[in-house]
Symmetry: C2
Subunit: 213 residues, 2 copies
């Protein structure tokens, strides 16, 4: 069976769990304890060239990394339900929404960056949290402007969940964990709520993971 | 004619210029002076929902943002020469390589982040440069490990340039500008050199841009 090497609290892992759930694909959950550093020292470090989670390991022993690339791979190899629209322009907009989160918000706030802020730059807990909230807020305000310029729909793009929703939901979970300001984001939060009404998003969330703390 | 709103020094803009050159697509170069803040205050801010460059504006008035999404759109609408392999697994690997740069390295080192380090966190020039070089080095070492695990080829993936090369070359330009350590990266630097031997990459580089300083 397909294995997903991942960590309950990793946003990027959460994105792939959502996609697997939406596609109805069963998988073995292989926990990698990132906070303890197991991705750099354990057997996972030998398995994964980039030493990042998530890592998808297929039946025939292929390894795939980077959450958005994995989700596109799942979408190409298991087309239904589609996580990208058929039309090239619409696909570009969905990818841009996903990348607005995966390239503009999340990289600034992942664990290794927060560790650098504290260990190397000696930032206080408060300054670290300000950093976190600054980039989340700035990024989500820009995300909301993009949704406001998009056709009306229940989700980020249209009336079915896409790659963009797979990225949005974990980002909102993280934002809440750090008590970020989520006011004034009507389209964004409506898409989030529409997602969380679906069993696939519920099943993929951190609290449902075998390694949840 | 297609317009590319961009900035000579923006890595993400550079990626799209490479793709346009590789595809042989003519475009109007519309400069947006990011260092001066024109993306947030000028007419560009009205045009662009995310207020980021690059922004591709098509003949029929459509706007596309996020460099990787734009390149995939160009690849879908102008398939030759292909910037992604045909095989789903190979596509996933190329996308993962591109995202290793676009999600793991570049976001930590773009202008707004460097500004935050100096203005908000009051970092010294030296500490800012250490930050820059730390993420470039860590990211490129991981990138090299991924190339080492990939089939042999002149470029990042195989013997023709792909989306991964469109992302790698601007990152190396930036790394050199900040005097980052590029030793011990044989596959990575060989791919970079193979790219720079091509007229398309030469023509797209910052020094060839109308707004180059």
């Amino acid at each position: 069976m397909t294995k997903l090497h991942n960590y309950f609290r990793s946003s990027a892992s959460f994105r792939v769990r959502i996609a697997l759930q939406l596609k109805g694909l069963a998988y073995d959950y292989v926990p990698v304890h990132i906070a303890r550093g197991d991705h750099k020292t354990g057997p996972f470090a030998q398995l994964s060239a980039d030493q990042l989670v998530p890592l998808l390991e297929t039946d025939d022993g292929q390894h795939f990394s980077q959450s958005m690339a994995i989700i596109e791979y799942l979408d190409e190899t298991h087309p239904e339900p589609a996580l990208l629209p058929r039309d090239a322009a619409a696909r570009a907009h969905v990818r841009a929404l996903a990348q607005s989160i995966a390239c503009e918000i999340h990289p600034l706030n992942n664990l290794r960056v927060l560790k650098y802020l504290v260990r190397e730059l000696k930032l206080s807990e408060e300054a670290k949290n300000d950093w976190y909230r600054h980039w989340v807020r700035e990024g989500l305000v820009a995300f909301e402007r993009q949704l406001a310029a998009s056709p009306a729909g229940r989700f980020c793009w249209g009336d079915t969940p896409t790659l963009a929703d797979c990225c949005l939901v974990p980002q909102i979970f993280n934002a809440r964990r750090f008590d970020s300001d989520l006011s004034g984001l009507p389209r964004t939060m409506a898409a989030y709520e529409a997602c969380m009404a679906l069993p696939a998003f519920q099943a993929a969330q951190p609290s449902q993971c075998p390694d949840a703390e």
